[in-house]
């Protein structure tokens, strides 16, 4: 999975095609060039293939590099100059993510499919190849309205409501401290399906998915009782149970 394998020549910029468009990866390791140089190099690369890149949907993976809003704007300007559409930034650094929010750029957290593992520490204990930030659950304190999406490679805990038309997508489990009426997908990351749960104080999702399994909310709009419930996979099916019975 690691593309920054030791034997290979380390390129600071890699561009590759993915299912959702092109992915530009700016290397973040300590020995990589600083951003200014990277942008210059990127410009050269873009010049060479200007026609190929025009109108292409682009994601930029910044790794754990910490960028200031002005630096993000510089990056965006560069892409705009070459008529590329920036679909999303992928960043494993909190500082960069909040800078992106300030600038108004769409950001995504790194996911298994779309990120590289960090340079392994010296004491590599050969555990399962989890991406960086693997232990990082995301705490969100807001209400998700129709059309808004939160996506995270690990668990998501949301304090607020998930309205109809909103979507929560988590590598692991989802907990909603509020009303769940939107669409939720848990266990998107294969290794985490087994333990993925979805729970909410008021549990009435339009649709819920755990791994490959999918189930719909009730057809008739019966108002479920106002009680916490939890969905999990049991014997290959999604079951929803009142929270009270559960002891972990």
């Amino acid at each position: 999975m690691s593309l920054s394998g030791d034997g290979r020549k380390k390129e600071d910029i890699t561009i590759k095609g993915t299912a959702s468009g092109l992915l530009i990866r700016l290397r973040d390791e300590a020995d990589a060039s600083d951003l200014e140089e990277l942008l210059l190099e990127l410009e050269t690369r873009l010049q060479q293939g200007a026609r190929f890149f025009r109108n292409a949907p682009i994601s930029v993976d910044l790794g754990r590099r910490e960028l200031q809003p002005a630096e993000l704007e510089a990056l965006q300007d560069l892409l705009v100059r070459y008529e590329m559409r920036l679909e999303s930034l992928v960043s494993g650094a909190n500082a960069t993510r909040s800078a992106a929010r300030q600038v108004g750029l769409p950001i995504r957290l790194p996911s298994l499919a779309n990120t590289h593992a960090p340079t392994p520490p010296e004491t590599d204990n050969a555990g399962p190849g989890l991406p960086f930030d693997s232990a990082e659950a995301l705490l969100v304190r807001r209400t998700l309205r129709s059309g808004q999406v939160i996506e995270h490679h690990s668990d998501i805990c949301l304090i607020g409501d998930v309205n109809p038309g909103a979507e929560v997508i988590a590598g692991g489990s989802i907990m909603v401290w509020g009303m769940l009426r939107g669409t939720v997908s848990a266990g998107v990351v294969a290794e985490k399906v087994k333990n993925a749960i979805i729970c909410a104080i008021y549990f009435n999702p339009a649709q819920l998915r755990i791994g490959d399994l999918l189930t719909r909310g009730p057809e008739l709009k019966v108002q479920p009782e106002m009680q916490p419930e939890m969905a999990l996979v049991r014997e290959g099916r999604i079951v929803v149970e009142p929270w009270t019975r559960h002891k972990f």
Partner: protein, 268 residues
Amino acid sequence: MAGKVVTITSGKGGVGKTTTTANLGTALAVQGLKVAVVDADIGLRNLDVVLGLENRIVYDLVDVVEGRARLRQALIKDKRYPELCLLPAAQTRDKHAVNADQMAELCRQLAQDFDFVLIDSPAGIEQGFRNAIAGANQVLIVTNPEVSAVRDADRIIGLVEAAELGAPRLIVNRVKPTMIKQGNMMSVQDVLDILAIGLIGVVPEDELVTISTNRGEAVVFDNYSRAGLAFHNIARRLLGQNVPFLPLEEPAKLSWFARLFGLGESKR
């Protein structure tokens, strides 16, 4: 033979495009036709809610265009009429996620499998509207008897004519006969005088529309609904049948009786 692509648009928002699309689609399916309704309002989707199919959405129009799903996978069968299918819009994207060429290609593909493809256009005259008419063979304009709605309809008719999509036809929606009688509302004739295009339907204001919309059912299933009857008639006119326009006055108290004995205007 390829089916017909009909776009329902209005310029102004809130005049009843989505309600019209849902009910017209259902009424055509009741007539035994294969119908696809397409929500072109990317980012503000509604058609799925009005049809009560919201919780069945797995893939949407943008997924199809961007190749994440095949068209067949994204189509959702209606609860009552499996011959009626919905292609939902994406809610998390915007109008620029799709361009006019892609939309035209999508319509072409749908027209191969369906007799009718109804496109629910977003309000406005920008990209979303351009996409919605990209693959159309015919355009229906929905308006209300209000100056602002008529003004916007006029603008849209100009754009449709400029796009050389043939003569659009008009649906006047939410007509209130009592208000017209008192001289407080534009009459259908007043609207026609301004817009000067062919009329295909007049839909009276009807509380039953609100009720059925909230339930996620089409009002055409309601035998007592005058709006439902009006939509059935529009469907038949779309099929080329010559159906007289409903009298706007309300003989409502009589109509169930008449229908019981097969008198008056039959629905099917």
